[in-house]
């Protein structure tokens, strides 16, 4: 293995590790903050002590998660500057502007109102306190918005023009950043946080029921969390459908990888379960699956909202074939993209030579040549079309894990809602209490799997079609990346252990108090 491959692979693993750990904390912050705000609103409306106690209890757990998780995302920005310096420079303002807004909002909005949330009981008016709780929740979601806008731009780069003099993408329309991919991605991520918080609250509350402590409090929490989680999950599914349409339109290769699909058809079925054929390649005649159970026409419905629509597979995309409204359409084949990418890079090289000579005429000619083929710039780094295919197996299976668990949690919320309104049944049914407790980590698996689909499925790109990972990397020694990978693994594991142990201790301690009345 040469050093470049080692650096690229370790840097990717490092980024994945830090992003995965970061995402352990974020969705709970996004969801629990809103649930707590709803509980406090109900307290203010009803003046009922039970809502006040529920608000305070879940707010404390929110605080633990917030404190441990805060600033874990900053590591990703460190990595941009060191491991991915070509990428950081290339994306320019596009990435910088949303991240800067996120930083300011995160610091000012969240840090201000979190302080009022925790220190402000009995010191500010109840309405001001409630406003602070809501503003903390809204601030967390707005912070997520900017990160997800930046991420969506990497998947679907729009609203910019590449300037070879600055070697950066210069934003020419800020509002273009809010593409369909960005909007769906934002709501999909935030609502999935609601579903995750719902499962978390139900799981913890079921532990109360199992221990026979504060059962009224637990049932109240389960009722609110189940409705909240169900709403979050249904909205996650709805925005997931929106994402599927956007991916079909703008990242067809990712969709093909999610399905392990090589040769598409009109009225394409959705693979409910399959064993992928490891010998299958884009240009051989092997079968795609060793075994498959498919839902007829479902992928066409999901991808193009038309039961008869054609969905291209990996081979179709590479060969430049699609069918739109029944007509065969020739898209740009990957071989041509590679050729045009190399032409774009040659033009950039000519621009560089002209710049050094101060030849402005040659610079303009080179710039015009570059712009003609810039949309395929990144393909110029490949020698074989195969390099542009994402890892099919990982994308296929993480997508399925997300879907299976999403379906499971829909059933879970429905069953919990049925049982919780038959109070005695919920208190006695230890099996459902155990299932609820065991479901908590599964919800995180579901959430992380969703991110794996989004990020692995868009490989090999850091910026879709423009910059592959191997060009985005810095010239740094592999050893330093390996050392910091293990350093992060250690630091984040310690943080995770701290979070889980402090939270468990707090839950256990609080469960022994009377959580039905503030006067106890």
């Amino acid at each position: 293995m040469n050093d470049l491959t080692t650096v690229v692979d370790w840097s990717r693993w490092q980024f994945a590790l830090t992003a995965i750990y970061h995402w352990l904390f974020v969705p709970l912050t996004l969801g629990l903050s809103v649930l707590v705000a709803i509980m406090e609103s109900l307290y203010l409306k009803t003046k009922s002590e039970k809502w006040l106690m529920a608000t305070k209890f879940w707010m404390r757990l929110f605080g633990i998660n917030f404190a441990i998780g805060v600033a874990t995302g900053i590591i990703l920005e460190f990595e941009f500057g060191t491991n991915w310096s070509n990428y950081s420079w290339f994306v320019g303002d596009i990435f910088g502007a949303p991240l800067a807004i996120e930083g300011i909002l995160a610091f000012f909005m969240e840090s201000t109102f979190v302080a009022v949330m925790f220190f402000g009981w009995n010191k500010v008016s109840p309405r001001f306190h409630l406003a602070s709780t809501w503003l903390t929740a809204i601030g967390a979601s707005i912070s997520a918005l900017w990160i997800l806008v930046a991420n969506a731009w990497m998947q679907y780069p729009v609203g910019m023009e590449f300037d070879p003099a600055q070697m950066r993408n210069v934003m020419d329309n800020f509002w273009d950043l809010f593409s369909g991919i960005a909007v769906n991605k934002f709501f999909h991520a935030v609502f999935s946080g609601w579903a995750l918080a719902g499962v978390f609250v139900i799981g913890v509350s079921c532990w109360f029921l199992w221990k026979k402590r504060n059962q009224d409090f637990a049932l109240l929490s389960i009722k609110s969390a189940a409705w909240f989680g169900l709403a979050g999950l249904l909205l996650t599914m709805y925005t997931g459908d929106g994402s599927a349409v956007e991916v079909t339109k703008h990242q067809p290769m990712k969709l093909a990888a999610m399905e392990g699909l090589y040769h598409g058809t009109e009225g394409q079925g959705f693979t409910a379960f399959a064993i992928l054929n490891p010998d299958k390649d884009w240009n051989n005649d092997e079968d795609e699956y060793i075994f498959e159970i498919a839902i007829p026409r479902m992928l066409s419905i999901l991808g193009r909202h038309d039961a008869n629509a054609f969905i291209p597979g990996v081979t179709d995309i590479i060969e430049g074939r699609d069918i739109i409204n029944g007509d065969t359409v020739n898209t740009v084949s990957y071989a041509e993209r590679i050729e045009r990418g190399k032409m774009a890079q040659a033009a950039l090289r000519n621009y560089d030579i002209a710049l050094e000579k101060g030849d402005s005429v040659a610079m303009n000619v080179a710039k015009a040549d570059l712009q003609k083929n810039f949309q395929y710039f990144g393909y110029g780094y490949f020698d074989d079309v195969k390099e542009a295919i994402p890892p099919i197996g990982v994308t296929f299976w993480t997508f399925r894990i997300m879907c299976y668990l999403g379906g499971y949690f829909l059933l879970f919320f429905v069953v919990i809602l049925i049982l919780v309104y038959r109070t005695r049944l919920m208190e006695r049914a230890t099996w459902i209490q155990w299932i609820a407790m065991a479901s908590v980590p599964l919800m995180w698996v579901c959430s992380e799997a969703g991110w794996a689909v989004a990020e692995v499925g868009r490989q090999p790109w850091t910026v879709q079609d423009l910059l592959p990972t191997k060009a985005a990397i810095s010239e740094i020694p592999a050893s330093s990346v390996i050392v910091t990978f293990w350093l992060f693994a250690l630091v984040f594991t310690v943080l995770l252990v701290a979070e889980v142990s402090i939270m468990c201790r707090q839950i256990s301690k609080e469960s022994k108090k009377n959580l039905s009345s503030n006067k106890a």
């Binding site: 460190f78 500057g81 060191t82 290339f90 925790f118 220190f119 402000g120 560089d352 050392v483 910091t484």
Partner: protein, 95 residues
């Protein structure tokens, strides 16, 4: 913490939402009030003290150990001007 303090100060100064006497106070009184708000908040913390220790330790590890020792911004460190940085990236992306 500094951001939070500043924001609270601005917020209270603008909205005057705490109590009826705040409007009579001059700036120093407002600063004192915010100081007491935080001081009392921290004093009354139970699990929060452990969390603050974790936050401070984490920030130290992130910004002092990890950032300074392992994660320099390469382009800022190695090149003085944006033109030099652009030149370097252009050569990297076309080599």
């Amino acid at each position: 913490m500094i951001f939070s303090f500043t924001s609270i100060f601005l917020l209270i100064s603008l909205l005057k939402l705490t109590d009826e006497s705040l409007s009579k106070y001059h700036t120093m009184e407002t600063v004192k009030k915010i100081w007491f708000f935080y001081r009392d908040g921290f004093r009354e913390m139970t699990v929060g003290k452990t969390l603050w220790m974790i936050i401070l330790l984490k920030l130290f590890i992130f910004f002092v150990v990890i950032k300074l020792l392992f994660f320099p911004n390469l382009l800022s460190r190695d090149y003085d001007t944006d033109a030099d940085r652009a030149d370097h990236v252009r050569k990297e992306l076309t080599k």
